[in-house]
């Protein structure tokens, strides 16, 4: 294992220790008597349902589109055109199934992209081994 990989591992651990579930308590994975129905509802909330949550004003921005963002959108639409999924399956997966942390932490099209990869695996069009090998192969093209 190269030292640059070990450096990445240590950096990763520094970042993930900052990730938190939506409500922070000292002990995670509570015992059943430590969680009431209100907290069950909070933890099982649909991460896309944000209407009415208080927030502060921000600067409204326009944005240039990345090549991968454009291609991701097109891939998702074409997968639906060819019947691999429908738009509601896509929304459910990319806006709710991903969970609160990825929902708020990743870029908008980052969720689309992970979900497009996931549908191919979940519906058994590809195996995770194939996906992993392909990612590794594509990475090597850029080394």
């Amino acid at each position: 294992m190269s030292s640059s990989v070990r450096h990445k591992v240590m950096k990763h651990l520094e970042i993930v220790k900052q990730l938190q579930p939506s409500l922070h308590y000292e002990t995670h994975a509570p015992a059943p008597d430590q969680i009431d129905n209100e907290h069950y509802r909070a933890y099982t909330r649909m991460s896309h349902d944000v209407g009415g949550e208080p927030d502060v004003p921000i600067t409204w921005e326009e944005k240039e589109e990345e090549v991968w963002e454009h291609n991701t959108f097109v891939t998702c639409e074409v997968l639906a055109w060819r019947g691999v999924w429908n738009a509601e399956e896509r929304r459910r997966r990319q806006n709710v199934d991903v969970g609160q942390t990825q929902y708020l932490g990743l870029p908008y099209y980052g969720r689309w992209l992970l979900t497009a990869a996931r549908i191919l695996v979940d519906k058994q069009y590809i195996t995770v081994t194939e996906l992993s090998d392909k990612i590794d192969e594509v990475r090597k093209r850029y080394e």
């Binding site: 099982t44 909330r45 649909m46 349902d49 209407g51 009415g52 055109w81 060819r82 019947g83 691999v84 999924w85 429908n86 509601e88 399956e89 929304r91 459910r92 709710v96 519906k123 058994q124």
Partner: protein, 122 residues
């Protein structure tokens, strides 16, 4: 165990040249509500998926339009399209949604669309 079979053609066969939600027209049966009816949004369990926003639950609204027939999003999100229901456009008074909404803007409203199953008569 064999791999599950997905009929990737079922939607394209149904909707080509017609469109969606037009392809579900006539499948929902008689609508339960009509334009002008007062309804309340039910507080149903939203386990795994829904497009009925939490902020509408338990609130009163007026039916503004019967917009189309379609499977409910809770079903369509797993590609279940057999159970087609009416969708209603509803108008809420903002004061009924947000207790802190300013009295000065008591006329302000919000419109959104919900499937029939989420509504009960008032």
């Amino acid at each position: 165990m064999s791999k599950p079979h997905y009929d990737r053609e079922h939607h394209v066969k149904k909707a080509t040249g017609i469109g969606d939600p037009q392809c579900f027209k006539g499948e929902a049966g008689p609508p339960k509500f009509k334009v002008g009816d007062k309804v309340r949004v039910r507080d149903l369990p939203d386990i795994f998926y829904s497009r009925t926003q939490v902020y509408t639950r338990g609130a009163e609204a007026t039916v503004a339009e019967l917009v189309y027939e379609s499977p409910a999003p809770e079903d369509e999100a797993w590609d279940n399209t057999e159970n087609v229901v009416w969708f209603y456009s509803l108008i809420f008074k903002q004061k009924d949604l947000w207790p802190d909404y300013p009295d000065a803007f008591a006329n302000d409203t919000l419109e959104t669309e919900l499937p029939e199953r989420w509504l009960e008569p008032l």
